[in-house]
């Protein structure tokens, strides 16, 4: 066993940390919070030039050919800085399944645009149930002539307002099993029959209700095969769960660092509050939560990197991250006292994003089900 990073991975982390500290200070995060676009196009294009958007895409599609673990490291740093923008939607939710399931024409057409920063993508799965199972998908994609006609609503679609394309999970037929007859379609987000309405969130990230009112999609827009879409959705949920976990891990690290510094500086009773055991032990619980997330994350990401992904490891990582990120933020506010509850303090920026992270790529219930099945508990 080897828990160490390769030298190039340390370098990637260091350069990402430098870049993000410079280009995405908290003042910028707050500014973007108020901005309609929800991201900084200049930073986006800089990241494309650095090769980050196509980090794991092969050279022939303008990418860097790096490993999934490298991508996790990069996203950990993005999470540390809570970089706003469509990186997760474009890369984790769309570029990865396009690369895995796309045909040659689709990959040649779409992936270079993604690598170069010229196309933003997002993924539409969740509907009114707010959950992620095949039974939750009811959007219809009916075959009419050579096209599919999409009718239905998607909720919590990230970055839809700036997306060029949406991967839409829809039903292309009737079936006895909810997983069958689901198909993923590549849809032009600018189609006039698509209505994109903001779904304002407490996190300040950009999520939307996307309505498909007889949206006509040519049949060559099917990703992989008709009726095989749930396989893709599961792939996306698993990969994205790990990458979201990486973001959360970076965020946990930042919150702990900030809180630890504060505990050393803040004087009460003529002593730094960090000298009190009541405070130290909260910080220690945060350390243990953070390191728990780190190692579960690295294990899951590493397994994907070497081609043996483990749904069980992935679910363990995301379930733990969901619990830890929330707990760390709540304790961090407690250690800060009232200042942690203000707009001016950074902790609130992290705390407000807890729910967005928790409900991205599967909530704890979903992941617990994977874990329970892994223990051999019969499924009802």
């Amino acid at each position: 066993m080897d828990f160490g990073f390769a030298e190039e991975q340390d370098m990637l982390r260091a350069s990402a940390r430098d870049f993000l500290a410079r280009e995405c200070p908290k003042a910028k995060v707050r500014e973007i919070d108020r901005d309609e676009k929800g991201y900084d196009p200049q930073v986006w294009h800089d990241m494309a030039r650095l090769g980050w958007i196509g980090l794991v895409l092969p050279d022939e599609y303008g990418g860097m050919g790096a490993s999934f673990m490298d991508l996790a490291i990069l996203m950990e740093e993005m999470g540390r800085n809570i970089l706003p923008g469509p990186f997760f939607s474009t890369v984790a939710l769309c570029a990865l399944p396009l690369l895995e399931f796309g045909n040659d024409d689709q990959k040649r057409e779409y992936l270079p645009q993604i690598s170069s920063g010229h196309a933003i993508w997002t993924f539409a799965l969740t509907e009114t149930s707010g959950r992620y199972k095949a039974t939750d998908v009811s959007l219809r994609a009916a075959r009419e002539g050579g096209d599919y006609i999409l009718r239905g609503h998607k909720l919590f679609v990230a970055d839809a307002h700036i997306a060029d394309h949406i991967l839409v999970v829809g039903r292309t037929g009737e079936s006895t099993s909810p997983e069958d007859a689901i198909t993923v379609l590549i849809v032009n987000a600018r189609d006039p029959n698509i209505r994109i309405e903001p779904l304002p969130t407490i996190g300040g990230d950009r999520q939307f209700e996307v309505s498909f009112d007889s949206v006509q999609v040519p049949s060559d827009s099917v990703l992989d095969k008709v009726g095989r879409g749930w396989n893709i959705a599961e792939f996306v949920l698993q990969r994205a769960a790990v990458l979201k976990c990486a973001e959360m891990c970076g965020a946990c690290q930042a919150v702990l660092d900030t809180t630890n510094s504060y505990a050393k500086e803040r004087i009460q009773f003529e002593r730094p509050i960090g000298s009190f055991q009541a405070i130290q032990h909260k910080l220690t619980d945060m350390v243990i939560d953070l390191e728990a997330v780190q190692y579960l994350l690295y294990q899951a990401a590493w397994a994907i990197s070497v081609g043996s992904p483990s749904p069980w490891q992935i679910s363990a990582a995301k379930a733990k991250a969901n619990q830890a990120y929330q707990r760390i933020c709540i304790d961090a506010i407690a250690v800060h006292g009232a200042i942690g509850y203000t707009m001016d303090d950074d902790i609130g920026l992290y705390y407000r994003r807890v729910k967005a992270a928790e409900y991205a790529a599967g909530d704890s219930d979903l992941h617990r089900e994977v874990l329970a099945a892994g223990l051999g508990l019969q499924v009802s």
Partner: protein, 400 residues
Amino acid sequence: MDFRLGEKELALKEEIRKFAEAELPADLVRNTLIDGEFRDFEFEMSVSRKLAQKGWLVMSWPERYGGRNASLFEQTVYEMEIAYWGIPGAWMGISGTQWVGPCLMMFGTEQQKERYLPSIASGEKDGVWCTCYSEPNAGSDFANIRTRADREADDYIINGQKVWTSAAHRARWCWLAARTAFNTAKKHQGISIFIVDMKSPGVTVNPILNYYGRHHFNEVFFDNVRIPASNLVGEENKGWYYLMQSLAFERRSLAPTTYGACRRIVEDLARYAGQTRYEGQPLSQNAVVRAKLADLAVDLEVLKMFAFQLAWRISLGQIPTYESSRNKVMSDDVMKRVAIVGTEILGAYSQADPDSEWAKLDGAIQGAYLGFPGQAIAAGTAEVEKSIIGQFRLGLPKSY
């Protein structure tokens, strides 16, 4: 990075499984898991000898002392599996294989190594050790020990009282921390380590029964116990340094053993839930039961990662500062929750005496439930360990 176990570790797991199935009585678990004390000492020692014959008992020791230089990863897997199967006899008392032997190799004289290591390595009764650290006024404040060793010609004379001494009633030897200098600037500066023959005149061992009547602890009195000066380990008054090393060895193996024991319980609970029907369906289909067991599985996985991460750091030659404390806190937490969730899943049956015919899962849950509060205190309370993490991982002021 690489999170795979090697061929050796995987083969070892399989061999231990076969060993456990061949050597252990089917109902042994009720006596062993968590609680750690085997009622049948002769049986325990017979297993020690078999473990030695298998080359497992001191696998990570060098060949010249009876080991085979196994990696710390192999050792970690061994500890996990020993605890998983509830195999007795692996520790030679609680300390022979785990910290007395390794510390003697680091700090002992050649004569001491030759005298004491072979009997530990071969699983003989003569190699069973206890560890005399705690005293009535030296618990978490360990450096406050008062037991004294006074030099008299070629001997030391030991006087004092130790408490919470596990396995003292079975041990041939004692690994003793005693004070050799008084009025030092700091109280940890005057401590030395000694080897004491438990058969020496003046040694008295009194049992302390725990709250469910088991005899694991003892109090040990030293009344003018004379030991040869050659039984001093290392240098006089340098004992604190050796103690920190021995505690590091002790705490390292906590996560692997807790992981193994708790993994077994969670698997047993999952099987129980599948076989137990309530309101027309197996308990395993109950959403609450599923969620509780899934949560335990996550934290077990964390504990496993922590165990291997610590082994990895030590195997790189690094000296971990806070990881052993982290692992202790996590181990305590996992054990507590496994025990409590276990009782919730067994329901009213969780109160049945572990030896009664009403006990489910051979009494393993009761053993865990009765055992965890004590385990959480041994080798450093969670509060002390968290303060160590605060100091060494977070750079916060010493708070104790």
